[in-house]
């Protein structure tokens, strides 16, 4: 339905429009090619001048209570080392505190005798750089002086000073090659620079082709032409991505020159020799990352700008996006955070971690695939949502409140309204944040009871949001009694899908063992030694109610209000699965999520999916709890490799059960609906 030729014509138009705008070009070229080298050179200059400043300065010090002040002074002046700095000795004023404060003194040394030894206290002010430096230098000098005294005392006693003072000698030996060291360093910096530069590259054209067009009044002209929304948004998306990629490449070129320059100066300084060719595989994967991430950033920027009525408003919307991206881009610098099947799903963070990973010569194919695919999936979701949600009419004349009901004054709100897409994004991100910062610690400290709290939070937040926007609870959460037949078919469908998904998971883990995570072990630890009914309550019943209300209630109703049947259930399933923050789970839960969304939307009763969810979690509790009994009863389940026949038979049984379930509910409702 999308006409390639039209998209291409529109794309050419967008590119011409963007490239004719000098501001975009400046952002694209000036920043990487002029600003970066300038910042780089500037910071080098600053660093060296700071070093010079601290060594070529003179510091004023006050002495008091030192026994042989003259000897001390002469040691300070000729301690055998070449100093570029010098000390100026100031006779201590009445109050050294005041002198330190008004910078007449940089440090103050008072001597005393304690336990038969001289005792110096060095008074300084940590809040003043000069004072800090001076105190540090005095400490070094006194330490040298102390060493010297020790040495002469030992020699006086007729011993070998070297042996006594250093009875053991050791050295650190760095195993990592120069390339590995350089890669580690690059992995910390490159992701951040790339992510920021791609975002900068995407942001300006995104604003320009959406809010900019609206502000200049050309959007209505564009909409008089025979083009579909899909074509229009695809063209804008492609144009924005192109600029973002171009900006990223210019940045890469600029960075490469700096890296060459740096590696040159490092080689000269350290005598090390970095083989830049060894980074070729990493660079190639990085190129892929740039392409994929440019698309992702463009989709995010476009969707945050598309509703803005003016340039200024669009800039307001993109500011939080920029902050989030920059924070995510720093993930590569955090030592404890690594790429695993959970972090591979977190947008922005995953790209940062992946680049850090591959520059440390750590190539894990399944994780690279997970990062690239999840970025593509997020991009596709954003683009499809944009084309579906924002009809030309919405873009042109739409009100923001249609998507974020929360923005209205509560007393202006209509009763029984369906939440918009903005409401879903806001609610789900709030839920995620609350779960992360309050739910996580609750589980850590309160174990199973924490899980209850966590689930209650989801329910309470969802219900509160629905109440605030005056949604109709029966309508929004599909609180209707289901027919017995529909419950039966829901149970059958779940059972069939569950069997197939289990088999698929088994096979998937055989091919990609890296996908397995410790999260299930954590759960086992939680429920060890707990009575069965508590486990069933917390792990099966609570999520079946709370998560279903949020996803199959709030989210599904809002999406089905804006989307057609199939996109609505698929999207609900994918978002529900992604919420589990685990790549393996994403693949496995998606079909189950879509299936239960189907039942809720088709038969207008959330209890169907509550039953499915409950059975699903109940089964995992029972399987975990009675794993030995199950294996004794069905030995084939315990085998490491049960064989192809087992897989085929299981899938066939699953398909048969699933098919029966689907057929059972098929006929009647179509009559009822018609």
């Amino acid at each position: 339905m999308m006409r390639k030729k039209t998209v291409f014509s529109l794309y050419k138009k967008e590119m011409l429009d963007i490239l004719r705008d000098k501001k975009t070009i400046l952002m694209m070229i000036v920043i990487p090619l002029i600003l970066y080298p300038l910042i780089f050179a500037g910071s080098m200059l600053l660093a060296s001048s700071m070093m010079n400043a601290s060594t070529s300065k003179s510091y004023s010090i006050g002495f008091e209570g030192v026994e042989d002040e003259e000897a001390m002074r002469s040691f300070f002046e000729h301690d055998g080392k070449e100093h570029e700095y010098s000390f100026v000795f100031v006779s201590p004023p009445e109050s050294y505190e005041e002198a330190l404060r008004n910078e007449a003194l940089d440090a103050y040394v008072s001597g005393a005798v304690s336990e038969n030894r001289p005792y110096f206290s060095i008074v300084y002010m940590a809040s003043r750089t000069d004072s800090q430096t001076a105190a540090g230098m005095i400490r070094d000098v006194i330490r040298d002086y102390s060493d010297k005294t020790t040495r002469s005392l030992i020699e006086e006693a007729g011993l070998n000073a070297d042996e006594v003072m250093e009875p053991m000698r050791f050295a650190l030996q760095d195993m990592s090659s120069d390339e590995e060291n350089a890669g580690f360093f690059m992995g910390m910096i490159i992701p951040f620079l790339l992510i920021t530069s791609i975002l900068m590259g995407a942001m300006y054209p995104a604003i320009d082709t959406t809010a900019g067009e609206k502000e200049r009044g050309t959007l209505e002209t564009l909409l008089t032409l025979p083009v579909r929304n899909m074509e229009l948004i695809t063209a804008k998306f492609l144009a924005t991505s192109t600029v973002a990629v171009a900006a990223a490449f210019l940045n890469v070129i600029s960075m490469s020159f700096m890296a060459l320059y740096m590696s040159d100066s490092i080689s000269i300084a350290n005598g090390s020799n970095i083989d830049l060719l060894s980074f070729l595989p990493a660079a190639l994967v990085t190129l892929l990352c740039i392409l994929v991430f440019a698309m992702f950033a463009s989709a995010v920027c476009l969707s945050s700008c598309i509703f803005a009525r003016s340039f200024k408003e669009a800039q307001n919307y993109t500011t939080p996006v920029m902050l989030l991206f920059m924070v995510g881009g720093m993930a590569g610098m955090i030592p404890q955070v690594g790429l695993n099947s959970t972090t591979a799903l977190i947008p922005v963070v995953n790209i940062a971690l992946l680049i850090a990973d591959i520059f440390s010569f750590n190539f894990r194919l399944e994780l690279i695939a997970a990062v690239l695919l999840s970025n593509l999936a997020y991009t596709a979701i954003a683009v499809v949502l944009m084309t579906r949600l924002f009809s030309s009419e919405n873009i042109l004349f739409g009100e923001a409140s249609a998507n974020l009901r929360l923005l209205d004054r509560r007393r202006d709100m209509k009763k029984g309204q369906i939440p918009g897409i903005g409401d879903c994004v806001l609610l789900l991100s709030t839920v995620m944040i609350v779960l992360m910062f309050a739910g996580g610690p609750a589980v850590l400290h309160l174990k199973l009871y924490g899980l209850i709290i966590q689930q209650s939070m989801i329910l309470i937040l969802t219900a509160a949001y629905a109440w605030y926007i005056k949604a109709d609870a029966v309508e929004l959460f599909s609180l209707r009694r289901p027919k017995a037949l529909h419950i039966l078919s829901a149970v059958l469908c779940w059972l069939g899908a569950f069997i197939i998904v289990q088999i698929f998971a088994d096979l998937l883990l055989k091919v990609f063992p890296g996908l397995n995570t410790e999260s299930s072990e954590l759960l086992v630890e939680l429920w060890e030694g707990q009575p069965l009914w508590i486990l069933i309550f917390t792990i099966a019943l609570m999520p079946a109610i709370c998560e279903e209300c949020a996803f199959r209630g709030f989210l599904l109703s809002a999406l089905s209000d804006k989307l057609k049947f199939i996109p609505a259930i698929v999207l609900t399933g994918v978002i529900f699965a992604a919420y589990h923050l685990n790549f393996l789970q994403l693949i496995l839960i998606t079909p189950l999520g879509i299936l239960s969304s189907y039942f809720v939307l088709k038969h207008r009763s959330i209890f169907l999916s509550v039953v499915m969810h409950f059975l699903n979690n109940l089964t995992s509790v029972l399987m975990q709890q009675y794993s030995e009994e199950i294996v004794t009863a069905l030995p084939v389940l315990g085998k490491e490799d049960p064989g192809v026949v087992f897989y085929i038979v299981s899938v066939l049984i699953g398909a048969a059960v699933l098919g029966t379930g689907i057929l059972l509910q098929r006929d009647k409702p179509s009559k009822a609906e018609g």
């Binding site: 030729k5 039209t6 429009d17 002209t221 909409l223 579909r228």
Partner: protein, 262 residues
């Protein structure tokens, strides 16, 4: 080629203007209220009415820029075949309003090229058309200049060239002469007349009653979203016993408001 609208409605929400501060201050209203409208080939139809009557909303729905809350818009091609696909309808309409601005960073030639390309017009065909249109509208002097540097009159000519490039059978012009000087508006008026004589149907909204009286074969009067009169210009004036549209409009509204109050 002609256009047919049946039972067109457009519902908007607005903040209720009332002292009652309780809930439900947002209310829905019909900006366009069950409008039927037809054009005929070789005819200029004037859509007249005061500001806020719903003219622009109506024309946007006819041009498929907006979808109606109720009702249908159909097009009939020269063989009388009905067309409902919005994309096809758009490709047969030339739409111009004060809101359809042009890409300032393009030259008129680039703009025309882009639009012709989106309409799927071949390169040779396009060049020929651009030359012809440029001659008719007298754009030779500025066709290669960036649009942001053109004068108001030149920009308006470029805008007309834009809705002409795909030779549409129907023109929808929403207040095309608003804010233009006599010479520029005369150019537009004579353009509409020549297109009508060529057999196109022209739908044109304005609140300049004199211009409409001189130009329109038929007049559709809109007031508060509803059609209050739809008749050939001469007959409308005869029916209301006036000799100009301004007076006819007053007479029609007077009758209307009385009805409203009752």
């Amino acid at each position: 080629m002609k256009i047919e609208a049946r039972g067109l409605c457009k519902r908007f929400t607005r903040i209720k203007n009332s002292s009652d501060k309780k809930s439900g201050r947002r209310e829905e209203f019909l900006a366009v209220d069950h409008v039927d409208l037809d054009t005929a080939e070789g005819e200029i139809v004037g859509v007249l009415g005061p500001n806020g009557a719903g003219k622009t909303t109506l024309l946007r729905m006819l041009g498929k820029l907006m979808s109606p809350s109720e009702g249908t818009v159909r097009l009939f091609d020269d063989e009388g075949k009905s067309i409902e696909d919005p994309i096809k309808i758009k490709s047969m309409i030339g739409y111009l309003s004060e809101n359809t601005r042009l890409y300032g960073r393009f030259s008129t030639r680039e703009l025309l090229h882009t639009i012709a390309e989106i309409h799927g017009i071949s390169r040779e065909e396009e060049e020929e058309r651009v030359e012809r249109i440029s001659g008719v509208l007298g754009m030779g002097d500025f066709i290669d200049n960036r649009i942001e540097r053109l004068s108001t009159g030149q920009t308006q000519r470029a805008n007309i060239a834009r809705c002409l490039i795909h030779s549409p059978g129907i023109y929808i012009f929403d207040e095309p002469t608003l804010g233009l000087d006599i010479i520029s508006s005369e150019a537009i008026v004579s353009f509409m007349k020549s297109e009508r004589d060529r057999g196109a149907s022209v739908l044109y909204s304005t609140h300049y009653m004199e211009e409409a009286q001189y130009l329109c074969d038929r007049v559709v009067m809109i007031y508060q979203g509803r059609v209050i009169a739809d008749a050939p210009t001469d007959r409308l004036m005869a029916d209301t016993g006036t000799d100009n549209l301004r007076e006819s409009f007053r007479a029609l509204i007077a009758g209307r408001d009385g009805e409203h109050d009752a």
